[in-house]
């Protein structure tokens, strides 16, 4: 077992552990704690991306998710006064139904994975560096790239409109 394999297990464990702590932290029900563990989840997932040789996406993951998205989350959490969350109990009924449905869907996933032959026998040689990704992005995928910039503009306009004091 080489170093990348050991690192895979470390990062996968960290990702899943922090993921658990996002949704069910035994010590704190504060959304800020959840957001902080979401940052850790995303950073360990960027480590997994690096192990998959997707270097550009790992950088984008950290910059966009751990940077922009989490800052947005934290701003909104600070804006809203969410003290009430700590007083409320999680209903055991919803936990039971949640575990049941999630267990069922994981069973389906694992069963389908077990019954599928993945043809990944060839040694992976793909490198997701910025140059190759950018080349593809500006030739074959130039139209979706432009469309997504319009989407970002629309999201920005919509957010400003929704954040106005009087919703008209």
């Amino acid at each position: 077992m080489g170093l990348p394999d050991i690192l895979f297990y470390v990062f996968a464990f960290l990702t899943l552990l922090c993921g658990v702590l996002v949704i069910a932290n035994p010590f704190s029900r504060n959304p800020v704690t959840s957001a902080m563990f979401l940052v850790l989840t995303i950073i360990s997932m960027a480590g997994l991306f690096v192990l998959l040789h997707a270097f550009f996406l790992a950088a984008v993951q950290i910059i966009v998710y751990a940077g922009a998205v989490i800052v947005l989350f934290l701003f909104v959490i600070m804006l809203l006064d969410l003290k009430e969350e700590q007083r409320r109990k999680i209903k055991s009924f919803s936990v039971a139904t949640g575990l049941l449905s999630v267990g069922a869907i994981v069973a389906i996933f694992l069963k389908s994975l077990g019954s599928t032959v993945l043809n990944s026998s060839s040694l992976p040689t793909l490198e997701g560096d910025t140059a190759s990704l950018g080349k593809l992005l500006f030739t074959q995928y130039v139209l979706p790239f432009e469309v997504i910039s319009i989407l970002l503009l629309v999201a920005m306009v919509g957010m400003i409109l929704l954040s106005k004091k009087d919703l008209k």
Partner: protein, 101 residues
């Protein structure tokens, strides 16, 4: 044992399951939103793993677009939550049972 596509897919499945569990069990809108992000990230991980082990860069392009759309979605969704909170003074799904503001 060599770490292969299956290992990454299992991590992705479990992360997706965690996100789904969070959406079902938690009652706070913001935490539900974070769980949604977890599910999106799980899909991203699966796509990157498939892309790497099939020697096809298109999967990573799709992940790039997903990250962009997720950022836009978070911006609009959080603005909606803030607007909702202004009207109703709550961010709990149990208090938000009416369709009208």
């Amino acid at each position: 044992m060599q770490v292969g596509l299956e290992h990454y897919l299992v991590v992705s499945f479990l992360l997706f399951a965690l996100g789904l569990l969070g959406v079902i069990t938690r009652r706070n809108l913001l935490v539900i939103y974070m769980s949604l992000e977890l599910m999106l990230n799980a899909a991203n991980l699966a796509l990157v793993a498939f892309s790497r082990f099939n020697n096809n860069l298109n999967g990573q392009i799709l992940v790039f677009f997903i990250i962009t759309v997720a950022a836009a979605e978070v911006a609009v969704g959080l603005a909606l939550i803030v607007a909702l909170y202004r009207k109703r003074q709550t961010a709990h799904v149990e208090d938000l049972t009416l369709m009208k503001l």
